[in-house]
């Protein structure tokens, strides 16, 4: 009964979405306030119905109702409750339910908190949001219904893919989807602005919190996925340039560009047309990501061939929304008024630079991801585009971005002082040069470019600190004054500094792990020792450890420092899942500051020896710590007063404020 209710609720949501997609637009054309006012309550009701449908699915999973095909295929009574819940989105149908739930959640938020929006803009934006929702409801109902029943309910389910039974993956997809789908709001507002044919700086202020929120979630989602791959796949790699990863990186790059161009639009009224285009492109990339992951073209052509309806349906959604949006853009964008002028050397100029490089880098990722698919479709030749391609294209494009980033916040709007900014960054540059020299002196081996990478990371971090120092005049005025200035700084200025600092931290982690990480692969017997970096690991033997729905074969290692002091034990394991007849590698990690020792084991051989992969990962935790700092920076910026207060602050108050907040 409950699954049928969920199914029915989803159909009602589709009906509501159709009404919400048509009536408000008719209202804006005929200037009928009643029709326009339908949008908000419809969006709220839509969310209620989708939440009910999602809840129905969740109840089926919690009660292990194996008469529902989706539950039977992906759940098992032996699994802990938390994984029974997270397995809702560990499969295709359920994850699409999560997608629409988040989509309507955002729609409801706009409806509930958008009371300060102009009526026409709000009505149009909610209507566009409803079109997206309607397309995905149809997709779920026609091709991926999670509520399908099986006639004779089995007693036991099939279990979730063991590799997904992990706390890291429990929260990775929701964060990622919050990011992907969050950009739909920017898309809807962009289309609404095009439909209306007018746009102003306030548009950027309304859209910015949504973009910022989506960007924050996507940042955490990508970092979480990367950490999961790092410890769960047993390879010690944090990024594989896998198409699935690229699918999440592309919207992040475009979203980061959007975040910055929206600042120019908000502050200076410039780059309007470009910002609209970026808003469309960012969500388009989210849709492409959904297509790549969901259609099955990547994992297996057969997933696509066995059920081509899914792939073709998503492809249809893709063509309809991206093509439609771009066509509308080409038609209506010339109507939008041009904004303010600025010199190439200015804060605007720096942000344009940022946009140019971010979007180009994003384009190279897109080409590298789609080229193999296109080539195979056209010629049948099968190629793989691996990390070398991205290292050679994405890497060089990121270098100028890192070099220019500290300059941006130090430049004035409209016309900047490059020489002055360079002077103020002198300390940061010296520090970076010092770090480069130190890296050359201290580290043996590794690529020649690596110390410069460390230098760039230090430059970015020190540049972010310089920004705050310059704003608070710390060290130059009495501490009390500096503190007051620091408290008076807009939170968005702090947010900028933190986010930029976080980039530097992540870069530092990536460079040091890639250049100076060490690896040993060996086959060992109990009593054997392995040396890595400054540590020695002794293999004590293996033992068995049962779990709820798996069995672990655990290898026990004692870790000594080189000077002989014992610092602990590590217990990597091979985890066998009998229900699926498969095994996963559970690596053991030991933190040494922000570095890690990483051990994973293979299946024991018949003679009792054990294959071992042993890594030392210097500063590896900085990669994800940096992402956390970026998230924090985003949160600070999100809490900025001007994003909460609807009306622009009077110009007088603004001129009295300290140097303008920068993003």
């Amino acid at each position: 009964m409950i699954p049928e209710l969920g199914h029915f609720a989803l159909m009602l949501a589709l009906g509501l979405a159709l009404v919400q997609g048509v009536m408000p637009i008719v209202g804006t054309r005929t200037n009928d306030p009643v029709l326009m006012s339908i949008a908000a309550p419809a969006a709220l009701a839509q969310f209620a119905f989708v939440a009910a449908a999602f809840g129905a699915l969740a109840v089926s999973y919690m009660t292990s109702d194996f008469s529902v095909l989706n539950v039977y295929e992906n759940s098992n009574t032996q699994m802990p409750l938390i994984y029974r819940l997270t397995s809702i989105w560990g499969n295709h149908e359920g994850s699409m339910m999560l997608w629409v739930s988040i989509l309507t959640f955002f729609g409801a938020l706009v409806a509930a908190f958008g009371s300060n929006l102009p009526t026409v803009l709000k009505a149009n934006a909610l209507a566009v949001q409803a079109w997206i929702a309607a397309a995905f409801y149809l997709f779920i109902l026609l091709t991926s219904n999670p509520f399908v029943r099986i006639p004779n309910a089995p007693f036991e389910g099939q279990d979730l893919n063991p590799i997904l039974q992990d706390p890291g993956l429990a929260f990775h997809p929701p964060m990622l989807y919050l990011g992907y789908v969050g950009f739909s709001i920017a898309f809807s507002f962009a289309i609404a602005a095009l439909l209306e044919g007018r746009i102003d700086a306030a548009w950027a202020r309304w859209v910015r919190p949504w973009v910022l929120g989506a960007w924050m979630c996507l940042t955490l989602g990508i970092a979480g996925g990367s950490y999961w791959a790092y410890y769960e796949l047993g390879w010690g790699g944090f990024w594989f340039w896998d198409p699935v990863e690229n699918a999440s990186l592309m919207p992040w790059l475009a979203g980061t560009a959007l975040l910055h161009s929206a600042v120019v639009m908000e502050k200076r009224g410039a780059l309007k047309v470009w910002t609209i285009l970026l808003a469309i492109l960012t969500f388009s990339l989210s849709l492409i990501g959904t297509f790549l992951v969901r259609s099955g073209v990547l994992t297996s052509v057969h997933a696509f061939a066995v059920d081509p309806r899914r792939g073709i349906f998503i492809l249809g959604i893709l063509v309809l929304f991206i093509g439609g949006a771009l066509a509308l853009y080409a038609w209506r964008a010339p109507l939008l008024k041009q904004g303010g002028l600025f010199a190439p050397i200015s804060r605007e100029g720096a942000l344009v630079f940022n946009n140019l490089f971010l979007t180009t880098a994003c384009a190279t990722v897109l080409v590298g991801t789609l080229y193999p698919l296109a080539l195979e479709a056209l010629t049948g030749a099968k190629i793989s585009v691996g990390p070398p391609f991205f290292d050679m294209t994405f890497g060089p494009l990121f270098v100028p971005l890192m070099a220019v980033m500290p300059f941006g916040p130090l430049m004035g709007w409209k016309r900047g002082d490059l020489y002055g900014a360079a002077q103020r960054l002198l300390a940061a540059a010296l520090l970076a040069a010092l770090a480069t020299a130190a890296a050359f002196a201290l580290e043996r081996g590794g690529p020649v470019l690596a110390p410069f990478g460390i230098g760039a990371a230090i430059f970015v971090m020190a540049g972010a600190v310089t920004d705050i120092v310059e704003r608070t005049l710390i060290l130059r005025v009495p501490m009390r004054v500096a503190l007051r200035r620091a408290l008076g700084l807009p939170r968005s200025a702090w947010g900028t500094a933190f986010a930029h600092f976080g980039i530097g931290v992540t870069l530092m982690g990536i460079v040091s792990v890639t250049a100076w990480g060490s690896e040993r692969i060996a086959e060992i017997k109990p009593g054997d020792s392995l040396q890595i970096s400054h540590y020695r690991l002794t293999f004590d033997g293996t033992f068995n450890r049962p779990g709820p729905n798996y069995r672990d074969v655990v290898g026990r290692f004692t870790v000594h420092r080189r000077d002989g002091e014992m610092i602990g034990t590590m217990q990597p394991s091979r985890r066998a899942f009998p229900d699926r007849n498969m095994a996963t590698t559970e690596a053991a990690l030991m933190d040494r500051g922000v570095s890690q020792i990483y051990v994973s084991i293979g299946d024991p051989n018949k003679d009792g020896s054990l294959p071992v992969r042993l890594y030392f990962k210097p500063y590896v935790l900085l990669i994800w710590l940096g992402a956390g700092i970026m998230f924090f920076g985003g949160a600070l910026s999100l809490s900025d007063r001007r994003l909460r207060v609807g009306a622009p602050r009077p110009a007088r108050a603004r001129s009295r404020a300290l140097p303008q907040p920068a993003e």
Binding site: I163, L164, V244, L341, M582
Partner: protein, 158 residues
Amino acid sequence: MTRKQRRLTLIGGGLAVLGVAVALMLNAFRDSIVFFNSPTDVVQKHVEPGTRIRLGGLVKDGSIVRRDGLDVRFEVTDGKTEIPVTYHGVLPDLFREGQGVVAEGALDGGGVFSADTILAKHDETYMPKEVADALKKSGHWKDDYAQRAAMPIGGASK
């Protein structure tokens, strides 16, 4: 600066960056693309020793020989042709005889494929896409091989 000049500067800068990116991509495509081949392809196309390729097929039954330590030798087959492969390292989860495998590396002078990467599968029922296609081509495909896609969400294919 007039609006027109500004726009020209922007467009010029944009085109310059785009040009650099295209040059980088073309360069990278020339150097870092790896083609996929089945054992039959390798023989028919006369793949040069030293050229990096991906070799995919099934691990031939009874062909796995482990020598001291981590040296492994096995044969990859597509039902028509077999190519011997050597690998040094820990084999991925679910590397088994009769199962699909993708090895990346190059042929040495003696016709032995020296692999530096063996791509893992995540699931009993999942087969690397290239392997499945190669098997279909050579007529050795069985319907029970790949009914389901392997990774439902956000995973890596390694």
